[in-house]
Symmetry: D2
């Protein structure tokens, strides 16, 4: 045979599962988008079309919904771990499973709270999307938590100068610019499923990581977006011992100060300026930050551009 | 001439203007998307291509940015009014202007606050987009305020039964369902620019309207999405005397309870159930609510589907 | 009652119906997105939540699919007419129906054709989306056909000069620019359902209208996008007697010639130039063209910005 | 230092460059979206914010436009190669460059052709987007060509049965289903920049690869989407000696046959049926096909879900 099959995986993507939990008159909501990818002894389905080793993607979908009811959804990580283990441990031909989860956050509508604090009315917060990727090979787990779509902006304390110049360089140095980005971040937990070791408190780990990231973004006097990124990453690792690697993909969302001199108007940053928020092109900064000695395991390609 | 020109308008759409205001070390941010549409004595540019009456769209763009600096941005409404008046009052051939504004909200990153409460670091809230449409004909103003993308959900207190049935009806009645929607709403102010009358406090009006809308959504025990919509509209008009008309476009974002009986699992709403959040098709409910005696002036077509 | 109900409508939006017709080994495909909006005696569902007059949106969805099988899909217009008439004529409380249809085009994969020209393999063409809107009030029909997403570009024969200037004008005149736009167009048929008069051949009418539009775009030496628009509209009306009104919404997709002089490179249009295709802001030109004496009935708001 | 920097890269993403070439009255158009990512001796910009080794992303943008004019755009691959070599060879600290290109296709508007076949009017084809990724490390090149958004459908000759069943399996076997997918494919050329060896004819290679892919899709009687994918990959490799590896990401775009029996309507595939085109969830099939003995070098993660 002149050609052979390489890496392959299949599953059902984007299962939109919503779970309501009722605690008397107080309801809780979990809103996830779950994608399943399975690998294993699957050569024949590619070569001959025999589905004998193929658990249908429709079944993986059913399993997502059944597990949501039977086991509940405590966090994207816990839910993904349960699913990953199930597929590998129960389907003979399946040797590895990768579960990707997006979680959309909701907050309570204040008006809906009863006098006793109960409530069943929610408004979607719309800020960042929480993410998780759980991989399981029958032996150990890899848990990547993360977020995307966290848009942040510093209106000052950002400079850019002293850079390399060649014959195509026309950019002017800037000593007071807006720094804005949409943070996509993925961080890896040291815990790999060892039953002897306690799993992290996933919610607390997420909240803490996000808080440190925001704080580092706000507190860093920035000479480059790379510097800010590194500060965010190292701050997280210094404060979250359960993590050992984090990767960022951060566009430099350019806000150009508008030249209003043709209209006799000064538009200096120091006086509070007007900017045009540009769409494309944009700078794109991507980097991994690691605890010293840790192995780099987070995939490098987290964006498509 | 066998064909003639009908209604027409032109302008620069989607000017992304960001204005930073510095109040010592405390910065404020306004982030808008401004679209300009002008009409007037413009037959010739269509018939012969003569641009003698055409203020270039590039000029309307420049004006947006210059006005942001020269006059500041207090609210989408105030900013749109200033622009609309300027184009009609200063460009001879232009007789009407319509300014549409979207505003994206930011909140402060708590960590960025100095000991004295100062700060210049922001995170985009990502919830609803605030909107405004200002029309001016040289005489009076029409101000429509609004919002879009406000996603809300009640996990109970929603029923649907007693409906009309024909030969294509298969839907089962439901006595405890999820009610979820993305609210798009547009409301009209009674104030039309009369210098004798005070203009509304735009920010306060917006916040109050949104709050009453959310409260009515949360408090209505719903027998139909139409009923909920009407409650939201009438609640707003009863509490906001500066308004006399409001229109909603509200998709019924279906959350179908999953049938888990093939797996021996009960999935009743009363116990806290698992739902699949569906994409398409979706119900789409649109209606206007008016103060009795008011004229219906908000355009009916606020969506494209 | 201090507030009353105004215009309202409801229905199921975005029913994605695909119909395969088999003609021996040759298959044909129709791929539509159908949205239903019904109005009528519907006050009570808003006021009290009584659904006694409400045909469920789920039923309208079922009807779309049942009609696709029972009556076939010859064209978006014919299919929409059948549905609109059905809802108004069969459901007592419903007095008007508006059906909106998008059609996605497919072409045959050449390789799939048998020796006898048969085939059942298709590739989506991906060019413009064909649209139709049918309104029926129990008496007469209004049929609006149209398209959206038809992206066209002239690499020369476009100028822009001689425009109005004010203190915010900085634009330089251009005697050789790229003219590019995404055409959204809606045209109205004179036929209103009169059984005595033959309905148009919808497919032929669509193809002819699109062809005249493209030809006028290509052949017009343009002094303004408005002039090009008007030429497109009048050309269509002059050649398609079944139409009497057409409306366009056409963004001016700016292609800015890049200044390469800092690098010692000339970049003149006449030599073949390099342009940056800008996203936002963009000019937006909207206008109706009418047969002289015709009434303007196409809604003015066909975009949201 | 407790944390260190891992893999990192930066550059300007999504430069939208359009190049017109004039050949007398006949114009040609190239329409690209170019993203630059550079790596090298960049630790300091992360650690201290020193930009001494940073060629600004603004400069990489300028270079893209200057190269388009100075060297022309023959193909995404040739253009990407020229850019990748330039950055690594000219900027001392930069050791590797990755250029990603999307190309949007245009065809001539027939009406625009002069009697001598000339023309300067174009309509965007809107079918697939052509892609290329060029990586250069100062020594050798890796050229990945590809496409995305090629939507194809077989209306018969697809079955799915004989699959693995567990307690969550409810899917019924299907002996005549629609098979539809959006093809994303990336293929790797054996040529790595060796000056002794001729580079492929990039255009011809692309057209041939796409044609074989479509033909294999159309001709394969499919027992699984995996089988179809493998046939597409092996067909390409068998016919294009310049390639040695190809990876696909193909969603199973479900078209569910609608149950019309409640309305007394049969809806069998054999008679030509009506389907609902579903959005989410969808199957997602990803696999690499390799020439026997070739090394697998195409990244596995080509999608984010």
């Amino acid at each position: 045979m002149p050609t052979i099959l390489g890496q392959n995986q299949y599953g059902k993507a984007e299962n939109r599962v919503v779970k309501i939990t009722r605690d008397g008159d107080t309801h809780h909501i979990k809103d996830l988008n779950v994608s399943v990818a399975l690998s294993g002894d699957l050569d024949e389905v590619h070569y001959s079309g025999s589905n004998a080793h193929v658990l249908p993607t429709d079944t993986t979908k059913n399993t997502v919904f059944a597990f949501a009811k039977a086991h509940g959804i405590e966090s994207p990580e816990q839910f993904g771990i349960a699913l990953a283990r199930h597929f590998v441990d129960s389907a003979e031909p399946i040797s590895t499973a990768r579960i990707r989860v997006e979680e959309y956050a909701w907050e309570r509508i204040a008006a809906s709270l009863g006098e006793d604090g109960t409530g069943h009315s929610f408004v979607r917060t719309g800020q960042e999307t929480r993410t998780a990727q759980i991989s399981y090979d029958g032996d150990s787990l890899q848990v990547l938590s993360g977020l995307k779509g966290l848009t942040v902006l510093n209106s000052t304390d950002s400079e850019f100068w002293g850079y390399l110049k060649d014959q195509y360089t026309t950019l002017k140095e800037d000593y007071d610019r807006i720094l804005a980005t949409d943070v996509t971040a993925v961080w890896r937990h040291t815990w790999t499923g060892d039953a002897q070791a306690a799993a992290p408190d996933w919610r607390q780990s997420y909240e803490g990581t996000k808080a440190h990231m925001l704080r580092a973004f706000a507190e860093t006097y920035s000479l480059s977006l790379q510097q800010t990124l590194y500060q965010m990453g190292s701050r997280v690792l210094e404060n979250r011992p359960e993590l050992e690697e984090i990767r960022f993909s951060m566009p430099n969302k350019h806000h150009f100060r508008v030249d209003l001199t043709p209209f006799g108007i000064k538009n200096d940053a120091v006086d509070g300026a007007v900017y045009i928020a540009a769409d494309r092109p944009y700078g794109l900064i991507e980097a991994t930050v690691l605890r010293d000695g840790a192995e780099a395991l987070i995939p490098v390609d987290t964006t498509n551009l």
